[in-house]
């Protein structure tokens, strides 16, 4: 009898737990729906998840006739695994991740994650711990190497990014290279974005590269200061992408197009300055980014309190989501640039088949169809040579080898 009561009790309690937990940890639970019809999109708590979150909040997925659930994920590795297994149909994802995974740096080589469109440009930064206050100032790239060398005398310098071969990893490596810091003289670790500030607070790292609002939060909490924003490194660099499961992209192509249309419409709305304050208050909620909305709002508007008594920098080039389509178009040249960086920094021993991989992973034709239906212009700059803002070495996507011979490592 006692056992029976225990069993009933356990069953009852488990039922309650199952019903209550989703509402605590994630976005509001949906009603039971036909499995096939609901599209599940993941996101990481970062300001640039806004296109997906706001498309949901604005009711745009419904408007385009698709039922979408958004799911808050704990780490980029989690996102990768869930996209590959199909647990997520797609996600807000680092632009570099599909290339990193396919080439075997950040996952099982040959695993295909498809890039449907870009969600945003700019809006990431490198934060240094307050130990560097007064030793390195905002954008004082020439002072980085001496400061790190000085610090290395007392302890190993640890720098963090969010995923091997992801955008933040590559921004951090570029920053070190341009500053003249030997990549091997510092320890490079991987930390999920929302955990960056807490880890820096307890001294687990000296520098990190991550998306907003976490650089802004580090300043607000007095943990660190913004040394450089990624738009200072490469104006209008590709950052997050809508990355989807391969099978989903093939079997539900029309639904994916509707999802992209909804997200593009959200991107358009987000680019209007007047909508950003409202977006900041929504995505700042516990169920999304869970960060102070004033920090999100300021950095979304390009207003950067730098920390360490450096005042405020106001950007004209800050996080953009659409820019008449120039943001959203996924460029193969950028994919090739990322893979060239893997070779440059020794993450890959040999050059991959750049063009073939970019062709395989970037759904450029799909994007063009969506853009045509929405009458959004397609930029004509893909596969043309370009250089970064803080490193003028020219990169020709048709000839990465030439670039690799001359770039700083």
């Amino acid at each position: 009898m006692k056992n029976l009561l225990n069993k009933i009790g356990v069953t009852f309690l488990l039922a309650i737990v199952l019903f209550t937990l989703p509402s605590v940890t994630n976005a509001p639970a949906s009603e039971p729906k036909e499995k096939h019809s609901v599209i599940k999109l993941g996101f990481i708590p970062l300001t640039d998840c806004s296109p997906i979150v706001m498309a949901k909040e604005y009711g745009l997925f419904k408007k385009y006739g698709v039922e979408v659930e958004v799911s808050k994920e704990a780490s980029w590795a989690n996102v990768r695994d869930k996209i590959l297994t199909g647990e997520l149909d797609g996600a807000h994802c680092l632009f570099g991740m599909p290339f990193s995974v396919y080439t075997g740096i950040g996952g099982k080589a040959g695993s295909e994650m498809k890039i449907a469109m870009i969600l945003n440009v700019n809006g990431q930064a490198i934060t240094l711990s307050k130990d560097f206050c007064g030793k390195v100032g905002f954008k004082q790239i020439n002072k980085v190497s001496p400061a790190i060398s000085e610090k290395t005398k007392s302890k190993e310098v640890i720098v963090a990014a969010t995923f091997p071969g992801g955008t933040h990893d590559i921004w951090m490596r570029n920053w070190l290279a341009v500053a003249g810091v030997n990549q091997n003289s510092v320890k490079q670790i991987t930390i999920p974005p929302p955990q960056m500030v807490a880890n820096m607070k307890v001294g687990n790292m000296d520098a990190f590269c991550v998306g907003e609002p976490w650089n802004g939060v580090a300043v607000k909490q007095g943990v660190g200061f913004t040394q450089i924003a990624t738009q200072d490194m490469w104006k209008d660099h590709p950052e997050k992408a809508l990355v989807v499961n391969k099978k989903f992209s093939e079997e539900r192509r029309e639904d994916l197009k509707k999802v992209m249309m909804a997200i593009i419409e959200a991107c358009k709305l987000l680019d209007k300055a007047g909508n950003r304050k409202q977006s900041a208050s929504i995505i700042g909620k516990v169920s999304y980014v869970n960060a102070p909305s004033d920090v999100i709002d300021n950095r979304l508007a390009g207003i950067y309190d730098l920390g360490c008594d450096q005042g405020q920098e106001v950007y004209k080039d800050y996080m953009f989501f659409h820019k008449n389509g120039s943001v959203n178009y996924p460029r193969k040249a950028h994919g090739i640039w990322f893979m060239a960086q893997y070779v440059r920094f020794g993450l890959l021993d040999a050059a991959p088949d750049y063009k073939a991989i970019a062709d395989k992973l970037i759904l450029q034709d799909l994007y063009k169809e969506v853009a045509a239906e929405m009458k959004i212009p397609i930029p004509a700059d893909d596969m043309k040579p370009f250089s970064l803002t803080f490193d003028k070495t020219v990169f020709d996507p048709s000839n990465p080898e030439a670039y690799l011979k001359v770039c700083k490592k």
Partner: protein, 509 residues
């Protein structure tokens, strides 16, 4: 094994309940404010007489704010207590005035859920005692500087669509619950506490001083254009018609104010603001009104720490050498004058300003200013403002009939240091100096002194030509619920951890 499992589940359930409560708490806001301000006054608001000695006192505002939001409703209450240290008659007396009162108490009914994209981003009706705060608070503001603050008993219908917002507001004031008839409104208060001594009759006034409006209606529209904003305001306040003997009669005199602002941004870093408002119809006494206000101000970010701004305000006034039935004195409505025309509050606040202190013989104001802000540290801001004041119209010299006085009123320097000791504790220290002219002296002769001089031909006593004022303000604003939420957030993390443990226990070995 089962016991252990059950134990885990029970813990999870308990924590889940906490977490669910947190979801509920996240809709709840509880915070408080305790603000003390110690002031040294030796010419604040008006120039001091030679024999007057400076005063020092500490005033305190204590507020408790409680808000709650749900799907179609938001509620907010702010209870405040204002008093000067030592002001209470005694610990058991009740004759020290009604200082504990509701600063705000409103409910907002939301007709559209703001989180969904519908025709309107927001449609709501805000009812009850509330602050009316719009734009830079020049004409409608919370007057936060004043310990009492400013509030209205009103209903406001709010619309928002895209980058447009529109508010439609109305108020109708009544003295008390009336039995069956009568709508005469005498306003509250009829008197105010004078700076130095006894209660005095409130100037037939402005800015909520003296008789309050009987009713008002307003329409406010704003449009955000990039990082700039354009706004429009139409405000009508109706005052009970006065008759002799301080009494009122049926009917109202309506004053209409209309105009707008442009808050512009240049190259993301620089601000240029322009305002123009016209005031017409009738003043509260029934005189015809024809007044206006224009303002242009700039603020340029020189670098990441220093901002400098120049600007000028013009508020029309009366030609005090003539008597006329048209009132040209622009009244800045129910805003926050402290923010604009010098921190020493010489203009458009409590102390009278006008020939013989008569506000209806007020020559208006020209204020040319230079503002600077320097961020010494992340939590330390230094500001220095310089104002050069002129009368906006001719000032009669009453000692020499037919002649006028020089229009220059004086120069004011405002120096303020703002320090955020912590997120919840702010310290502000300020020092202001007014270098006044003879004209300012004449225009600030309010109350008995002006009346005696004018009627009994008693020579004026010249005031000192400078005034000093210093203050130290400490603001403590704890977020009471925030701390509870932080604790609950860590409990939510524990739930996740325990859930993983249970998953592990449940896995087949």
């Amino acid at each position: 094994m089962k016991k252990r499992f059950l134990h885990k589940v029970l813990i999870i359930l308990t924590l889940c309940l906490f977490a669910l409560e947190k979801e509920g708490f996240s809709q709840l806001l509880i915070n408080a404010q305790l603000r003390t301000r110690t002031e040294f006054r030796d010419g604040q608001g008006t120039l001091p007489l030679p024999h007057q000695t400076p005063s020092v006192f500490t005033s305190q505002r204590t507020r408790l704010n409680i808000g709650y939001g749900m799907e179609k409703l938001r509620l907010f209450t702010s209870i405040q207590d204002i008093r000067v240290w030592g002001q209470d008659a005694s610990t058991i007396s009740n004759i020290d005035g009604n200082k504990l009162f509701l600063h705000e108490a409103w409910g907002e009914i939301v007709f559209n859920d703001t989180t969904y994209f519908k025709t309107f981003k927001n449609v709501s009706l805000k009812l009850g005692r509330q602050e009316l705060v719009y734009d830079d608070e020049r004409l409608l503001g919370g007057l936060n500087w004043l310990q009492q603050g400013r509030r209205h008993d009103a209903a406001v219908l709010k619309f928002a669509k895209g980058t447009w917002t529109a508010d439609l507001g109305a108020a109708f004031n009544q003295q008390r619950e009336l039995k069956n008839t009568g709508n005469l409104y005498y306003g509250v208060p009829g008197t105010q506490i004078a700076t130095d001594s006894a209660n005095v009759a409130a100037p037939a006034g402005t800015n909520f001083i003296g008789t309050m409006y009987k009713s008002m209606q307003f329409l406010y529209i704003s449009k955000e254009i990039g990082f700039s904003k354009a706004t429009f305001l139409l405000f009508k306040d109706d005052f009970q018609k006065p008759i002799a003997g301080g009494k009122f009669t049926k009917g109202t005199n309506s004053r209409v104010t209309v105009g707008g602002n442009i808050f512009g941004t240049l190259m993301r870093k620089h601000k240029i603001d322009a305002s123009f408002f016209y005031q017409g119809n009738k003043d509260k006494l029934g005189n015809k009104m024809d007044a206006y206000m224009a303002s242009l101000s700039t603020m340029f970010a020189i670098d990441r720490k220093l901002s400098l701004g120049l600007g000028g305000d013009y508020l029309s006034g009366n030609n005090t050498t003539k008597s006329g039935e048209v009132n040209h004195r622009f009244d800045p409505l129910y805003g926050t004058p402290h923010k604009f025309w010098g921190y020493m509050d010489y203009f458009y606040v409590a102390d009278a300003y006008g020939v013989q202190g008569n506000v209806s013989r007020n020559p208006g104001l020209i204020d040319l200013f230079l503002k600077s802000r320097y961020k010494l540290k992340d939590n330390l801001l230094l500001s220095l403002d310089v104002h050069e004041f002129y009368a906006g119209n001719k000032v009669a010299d009453e000692t020499a009939p037919g002649k006028t006085l020089d229009s220059r009123l004086g120069t004011e320097f405002d120096f303020v240091l703002n320090y955020n000791f912590t997120k919840q504790i702010g310290i502000e220290a300020g020092y202001s100096l007014m270098l006044g002219t003879n004209t300012l002296d004449r225009l600030k002769r309010g109350g008995n002194q002006g009346a005696i001089a004018a009627t009994a031909n008693v020579p004026y006593i010249n005031k000192r030509n400078n005034g000093n004022w210093a203050y130290l303000m400490i603001t403590i604003r704890p977020d009471l619920l925030g701390q509870i939420n932080d604790k609950l957030a860590s409990l939510v993390k524990s739930v996740d951890g325990l859930r993983k443990d249970v998953d592990t226990l449940n896995q087949p070995k």
